[in-house]
Symmetry: C2
Subunit: 266 residues, 2 copies
């Protein structure tokens, strides 16, 4: 039976709300995910929250009932609460029906099977959580093998990143590593490293992308360091016909990834 | 000579800060844009703010000096203030060097020359300001003729949309209209209407896009109404290989727009 929490002063509410903050996530090694759609997606990939908060008005929703049962069967706890407390937990005026607290997870380069996918996404010093989540969502859509984060990137477990990923955080392997380790790993097997750059004449449509292709996207404001660009097998450019000199990082990654996908599907 | 405002209680500070709110923007018919990059871009397209706030530490930056001079010559006012007040105006911890108050602008369907561009972007009930701004930024990059907003869309002059557009709000014509008026106008001249949909077998790469092509993107959560889909000349689908059933709306628009651009450039 789910227990009930209706007081905002409840210490558990405070602890969960603190998970919106990176420092608290690091300490607890847990993160928040919200919404029936995302939590159901997580469940389908075998990930269930330790804690599941749901609001009384949605307690009878079949998907909520299924989630509650699955969480409890898995040894987690389901907690009935008020829409107001759900709002506080999610930081949104219109709260989702459910908020879950998940254990953090992740993977390592050595655990990746690079031959399992034709496209791999690599991003360095990505700063915007919305971009990170959107890149995960795109990665899922193109069947990418995973997302490799290089250097000081935004936390993939931030509330905004999880939200923008629309559940792809649960389906896409994410590795957090450094440039040197990545490059060492990359060169121990097949795979071409393709960098998105403004300083090249190679149009992205004119290059052949064999599997596996690793697409490297640089920092939103600065692009990638010259050293990284020099280590790429190919640099490619997406045409820019207007006044602006760059695309949004998630948009550029998606335009590239769909070109690679189209070529690899023949 | 710029006047100086250092008190947060100054009524002008409050009035400008209120422009972060849609209701106040509607009443004042003005909006905020931040950052040297965006304001310089605006200036290059001939748009100068009525009011320009800048922080003392950046007063000697050449681009700030140029902006101040241009604004004053144009009959506007430049106001020196503190980084703290700039933070309050922009709602960000790390304020931009400048914040400008611009008169709203916009255009109408009848003012568009549809033969001036091969790509036009159309979005209906777009709800996320980041998506709207990102679509404008992409539209600029592909040389689109403009963005036509159908129905209840998020305000293109919201701080978040202007920010995400990276200045493209100033370079891309934006029309806000209704579905009936749009369709009437569309059918009075050349142009195919291509809708992004999940309910079609037409892969987006298998369709020929003659100029001018109007790309219609539906609401983030629901897609477009059946009536709109039925009015399209073609519905196309972007392949989805993963668990998720849709892409971010700005990403989907960009993937489509770059396919159209690639075809039209031959």
């Amino acid at each position: 039976m789910p227990r009930e929490i209706t007081a905002y002063s409840n210490p558990l509410v405070k602890r969960v709300r603190d998970l919106r903050d990176k420092r608290h996530r690091r300490e607890a090694r847990q993160f928040l995910a919200e919404g029936l759609r995302i939590l159901t997606e997580a469940r389908e990939t075998g990930r269930l929250p330790r804690l599941l908060f749901f609001a009384r008005p949605s307690a009878q929703h079949p998907l909520v009932r299924d989630l509650v049962a699955a969480v409890e069967q898995n040894g987690g706890e389901a907690i009935e609460t008020t829409p107001d407390i759900l709002s506080k937990l999610s930081g949104k005026d219109n709260p989702q029906a459910v908020v879950g607290v998940f254990d953090e997870f992740g993977t390592t380069l050595d655990a990746l099977d690079r031959t399992s996918a034709g496209i791999w996404l690599v991003a360095e010093r990505l700063r915007d959580p919305g971009n990170l989540g959107t890149i995960l969502r795109t990665g899922d859509a193109v069947g990418a093998g995973g997302l490799i984060l290089i250097g000081e990137c935004v936390d993939p477990f931030s509330v905004e990143a999880v939200r923008a990923s629309m559940g792809a955080l649960f389906t896409m392997p994410v590795v957090q590593t450094g440039w040197g380790d990545f490059l060492n790993w990359l060169r121990q097997g097949p795979g071409q490293l393709v960098g998105l750059s403004l300083d090249t004449d190679h149009d992205y449509r004119g290059v052949r992308y064999a599997a596996p292709t690793f697409l490297l996207t640089g920092n939103e404001a600065q692009g990638m360091p010259a050293e990284y660009a020099a280590a790429c097998d190919t640099l490619v450019k997406i045409p820019m016909l207007g006044k602006a000199d760059s695309l949004n990082a998630a948009v550029a990654t998606a335009v590239m990834a769909y070109e690679v996908l189209a070529q690899q599907r023949g």
